[in-house]
Structure formats: structure tokens, C-alpha cells
């Protein structure tokens, strides 16, 4: 079976969604020797307009670069989420900033939805709100396993200015851990073993959002 994964990074202009998509696509091309395309669309507003980057990764050449059957979508904004969710396949993985995006009960049935306050966490726990997109990249990589996280680290080194590298690496690692916690939480929920979980962060692992030490 041929490998093909369609991902969409959606939000508003200025959040870094296009860069997030580019990092994933470049990782796939350079370090995993797959075919990948990244095509952004945005409005004529410099900041604040609905923006998305479609990334397709495949082991065969990609002819039409707009995603039409999404396996994954990141949404950092309600309007953009509503605008672009129509291309999601059933059971697709959806990652939203749950401070900003509300999803319906029916959508939770249809898609595998993860919510995390990415922008707030980038601002208060990483210390730079502009790293929210890299935190999201970390979560995307952990949730989808579409590219190897160590390969992403290498791309981050080439893509991010040295002065901002450390804080972005922190965001990336925090994203990986946050996603692992959310996955664990889902497993526990399905097993019916937990009740009264905190705000989408399982009590067992809630320390990570305040923990600046490198993971593991």
C-alpha cells in the first residue's frame, strides 16, 4: 500500500501556520526521502486573515498539491477551522487550540480530536507566544508520526535563527510531551480508568506545562 498523508495547518495570518507546514514538508523531503508538497493560501490581509498550508507527503510523486482528503488538521482559529474542516476524512486527527476553537459533540464522534491551549502555553510556559507554531509542530509529529521527530529537530536548526533556536526547541519538546499526555489521557478515558481529569492534561503528567527542564 502506497504511503500518502495529507495535512493542513490552519489559522490566521501571523501565527506561523505556513512555516509549520513547511517544516513538516521539508523534513519529509530532505531526511525521509519522500515526495512532499507544501502550498499555502492566505488572504490579502497582512495579519489576521484566514490562512492555511496544505502539506502532502507520499512515496509517489504528487500531482495535485491541494489537500482534498485530510488525515490531519491543525486549527488555531475558529473561523479557519470552520472554513477548512470540510476536507477531513472520517477518523482524521484534528488538533485545535481549545481556548480558541470549539468543536461539537458530533465532530468529536467523527474525528479524533485533541485540544490543547497551544498559544497560551507558548506565551506563559515557553515564554514566547511566537513559538506556538513550533509547539504545534511538536504535537503534530507526536500525534501523527508522519515524520521522525529527530529529523524535525535538524530542520529546525536550519530554519530558525540561532537567537531563537533554544526557545523554539523548548516549544517543540513541550509539544511532543503535551501530545503524549493527551494520547495517554484518551487511552485512559477509553479504558474507563480515569475520572475528573484536569483541563485536558492528565493529573499524572500535569507537571510538564510548568517544567522548563528538557524532557526525559
Amino acid at each position: 500500500m502506497a504511503f500518502r498523508c495529507e495535512l493542513r495547518f490552519a489559522g490566521v495570518g501571523g501565527q506561523g501556520n505556513i512555516l509549520a507546514g513547511a517544516i513538516i514538508a521539508e523534513t519529509a523531503i530532505i531526511y525521509e526521502h519522500r515526495f512532499a508538497t507544501q502550498v499555502p493560501t492566505y488572504t490579502s490581509q497582512v495579519r489576521g486573515g484566514p490562512t492555511k498550508a496544505d502539506v502532502i507527503i507520499s512515496d509517489q510523486s504528487i500531482e495535485f498539491p491541494e489537500a482534498t482528503h485530510l488525515d490531519f488538521m491543525l486549527a488555531l482559529d475558529q473561523r479557519t477551522y470552520d472554513m477548512y474542516k470540510g476536507d477531513l476524512k472520517n477518523h482524521a486527527v484534528v488538533l485545535v487550540d481549545d481556548n480558541l476553537v470549539r468543536v461539537s459533540a458530533q465532530e468529536r464522534e467523527t474525528w479524533d480530536i485533541y485540544g490543547f491551549p497551544m498559544i497560551r502555553t507558548a506565551k506563559y510556559d515557553v515564554g514566547n507566544v511566537l513559538t506556538a507554531n513550533i509547539l504545534a509542530v511538536g504535537m503534530t509529529v507526536e500525534l501523527t508520526k508522519v515524520v521522525d521527530k529527530e529529523h524535525v529537530r535538524k530542520i529546525l536548526h536550519t530554519r530558525i535563527r540561532p537567537a531563537l533556536l533554544e526557545v523554539n526547541m523548548k516549544a517543540f519538546d513541550l509539544g511532543l510531551r503535551a501530545a503524549r499526555s493527551l494520547q495517554l489521557q484518551k487511552v485512559q478515558q477509553h479504558a474507563g480508568t480515569t475520572t475528573l481529569l484536569g483541563h485536558l492534561v492528565p493529573a499524572q503528567d500535569s507537571s510538564f506545562v510548568r517544567d522548563s527542564a528538557p524532557p526525559r
Binding site: A22, A25, I29, T37, Q38, V39, T41, Y42, E66, T68
Partner: protein
């Protein structure tokens, strides 16, 4: 994939221009073409060329034309509304017979329209945007690699035929990033304008030989020695104005025929799975990729479909489409506008085939599913 580079369509056009020998760029930035000047502003000085941002589109095409007059391989880039402004300078370059490459990264319109969205609505503007009888060459790359190779071909044709050449790209291709393996430079043909065989005092800028309707034009090295006049007025062999009816008519015809008679060299197209097809799709540019996916899907469902994809879109491949009309009962034209190339197709088919269309000018690319649906309807 050791030598794979990650670039978008605009960056590939800019790099190809440098490889083709372009050493002068003048422009005024406009979405979705702005990555072209962005890259050239940095790269042009590195190769000893000149980059100019001017006050508007008109000034920039005139500057680019003037640089070509002075022997430089020259380029300007813009998008729909900017190309509208450039039409005056484009006509002047046609009349002066100046080699010039004009990139039009098409977006929605008319007017400011949809600045960031993909479109193919400049197809007719490329041909008839400037006034007066004239011929134009326009190429529409369909892939990232073609953004590179067709730009080189555009420069070669501009130099060989002393004419402006348009590159019709679109927002999807312009902003699509992917891994591209570029052909080694030594495998690519680079054409330079033919040099005068006569001494400067005997040179006349529009004097042709019996065998070549394209007069020679001094390059950068020779330009300082050759003094000659050019004008937007109809001219004779000296480059000075004339209203002599015989001279004007002969010159107008020569300017058109120097391109039309070279169609074997200028024409470029792709036949995709047409051999055993019963339905033919005609599509160009990035939209042809949607058609290709639709055709694969249709074939998986047992429908025999193929595609004719013009790469040189002007002059229109009239003969090629006429032959499709002899072979196919049904032809589907798909383009990201409300119907432009389809008029040329209709003219070439002369009623032989039943003509169908998948047209869209909504800012969003046409999806493979839309073309597939039309294929199914037509095949039923």
C-alpha cells in the same frame, strides 16, 4: 535525492532567469509574484546584474525594455492588474522588437480582484492586452520543474525571435514548495541574440537577410559601438518612423510571421494518455495537474480519457487542436476562468467535436473531482 532543492514556483522562475543570462530586472512588487523580485534583489548583484524597483509597473516594463535595447537579457514580473498597466510597454517592445521576458503570475480579477488567489484569467490579456496587430509568445508551465525550464525557453525564444515572451504562471504554482532536482546547467541550451555582421556605421536595426526575418541586435558588449534609433512608431529598416503603406504592411506582416513561421520551434505541448482515449481533456498550467489526477481516477474506473496540455499557449496550437477534433467526439476544456482558451479551442474544432467545459473563477483551484464528474457525464 542528494541534489534536491526545496523551492517554490516563483523562486524557480527567478533562478532560471539568472541561468538563462538575465542581468537586468525591473519591477514593482505585487502578490502573488513578489518572491521573484525578492529573490532577484539579493541574487542579481551577486552575478553582476542590475535590479531596479521602480515607482510603478509602467516604469518598470519600460526600464526592462530599455535594458534590452542596451543589450541586456531583461525581465519584469507582475500579476493581473500590474500586467494591465504593463500593456503599453509590452506593445512598445513588440514594435521595437526587443527581447523581453514578462512573468504574469495570474490572480483573480478584473481590477484588484483576488490578490492572493489562483486564476488563469489573463489568458486573453496575454494575447490581446496590448493594442494593435501583433503576435505574442506565451508559455504556461504546469509543474515546478517547468517553471525552471520554460523560463529558460522563454529567454531563448525572446532572444531568437527578438520579441517579448510572457510566462503565465498562477498563484498555486507560484507558492507551491516542493523538492526539485534541477537539470545540470550544461545540459540546457542558452540562446543569445544574433549579432550584426556589419560594421557599426552600416548597421540598421531592422534590416533582415533573405533567410532570416529576425534582424540582428547588438548585445551588451557590442551596444556601445552601435548607435541606432528605435521608436514605437511604425518604422523602416533604419529604425526611423515611416508612414509608407507598403513598408508598414510588409513590416507588420514580417513581425507576425517571424513567430508564426517558427511554430515548429516555439510550439510545445504534452499528450497524456491520448493514444487509446475516447474523451480528451484540454487543460494548461497548474490546472492540468487536477486534470491529470481526474484522468487517473477515471481510468481506474474504466473510462478511457486523455489530456492535451499546451505548454506554449500563444500562438495557440491550432493544428494540434484541429486534429483532436478529427479524433474525439467529446472534448472537455478546463481552465481557472469563465472561458478564455475555450474560444480558441472552439475555433480550431470548427464544430467537429462536442465541446464541454469545467470553468471556475472563484479563487479556489478546480479540484480533480470536478473534472472527473464532467468526464463521467460526458462518457455516460
Amino acid at each position: 535525492m542528494a541534489d534536491v532543492q526545496i523551492m517554490n514556483g516563483n523562486q524557480l522562475i527567478a533562478e532560471a532567469a539568472l541561468l538563462a543570462g538575465c542581468r537586468f530586472y525591473a519591477g514593482y512588487p505585487i502578490t502573488p509574484s513578489s518572491e521573484i523580485p525578492e529573490l532577484l534583489a539579493r541574487r542579481m548583484p551577486e552575478v553582476g546584474g542590475i535590479f531596479m524597483q521602480l515607482e510603478d509597473e509602467i516604469a518598470s516594463i519600460v526600464a526592462a525594455a530599455a535594458a534590452s535595447y542596451a543589450g541586456y537579457k531583461s525581465m519584469t514580473a507582475s500579476s493581473g492588474p500590474g500586467i494591465s498597466l504593463k500593456q503599453e510597454g509590452l506593445g512598445m517592445a513588440c514594435m521595437m522588437e526587443l527581447p523581453l521576458v514578462i512573468v504574469d503570475v495570474m490572480r483573480g480579477g478584473p481590477s484588484t480582484g483576488l490578490p492572493t488567489r489562483a486564476s488563469q484569467s489573463d489568458y486573453m490579456q496575454a494575447r490581446w492586452g496590448t493594442h494593435g496587430d501583433h503576435m505574442i509568445i506565451a508559455v504556461a508551465p504546469g509543474t515546478l520543474l517547468e517553471c525552471y525550464t520554460e523560463t529558460i525557453r522563454a529567454f531563448n525564444m525572446a532572444e531568437r525571435y527578438r520579441t517579448p515572451v510572457l510566462i503565465l504562471s498562477d498563484a498555486t504554482l507560484a507558492h507551491l514548495s516542493s523538492g526539485v532536482t534541477l537539470p545540470p546547467p550544461d545540459t540546457l541550451e542558452i540562446v543569445d541574440r544574433r549579432q550584426p555582421a556589419v560594421e557599426p556605421e552600416n548597421y540598421r536595426p531592422y534590416e533582415i537577410s533573405a533567410t532570416n526575418p529576425v534582424p540582428p541586435l547588438p548585445n551588451r558588449e557590442n551596444f556601445p559601438r552601435y548607435r541606432f534609433h528605435m521608436t514605437g512608431l511604425n518604422k523602416d529598416a533604419t529604425g526611423f518612423p515611416t508612414e509608407n503603406a507598403t513598408t508598414v504592411l510588409a513590416d507588420e506582416n514580417r513581425m507576425i510571421n517571424k513567430i508564426m513561421d517558427a511554430s515548429a520551434d516555439i510550439e510545445s505541448f504534452e499528450h497524456y494518455q491520448l493514444e487509446d482515449a475516447q474523451v480528451a481533456v484540454i487543460a494548461y498550467g497548474s490546472n492540468a495537474n487536477a486534470a491529470r489526477v481526474a484522468i487517473k481516477e477515471a481510468r481506474a474506473q474504466g473510462l478511457k480519457v486523455g489530456m492535451f496540455r499546451p505548454i506554449t499557449v500563444w500562438p495557440f496550437p491550432f493544428q494540434q487542436v484541429m486534429e483532436l477534433g478529427r479524433k474525439f467526439k467529446h472534448i472537455i476544456v478546463s481552465e481557472m476562468n469563465l472561458g478564455q482558451m475555450i474560444h480558441e479551442v472552439q475555433r480550431a474544432l470548427q464544430g467537429r467535436s462536442e465541446l464541454h467545459s469545467v470553468l471556475q473563477a472563484a479563487g479556489t483551484p478546480i479540484r480533480p473531482q470536478q473534472i472527473l464528474q464532467k468526464i463521467r457525464e460526458v462518457s455516460a
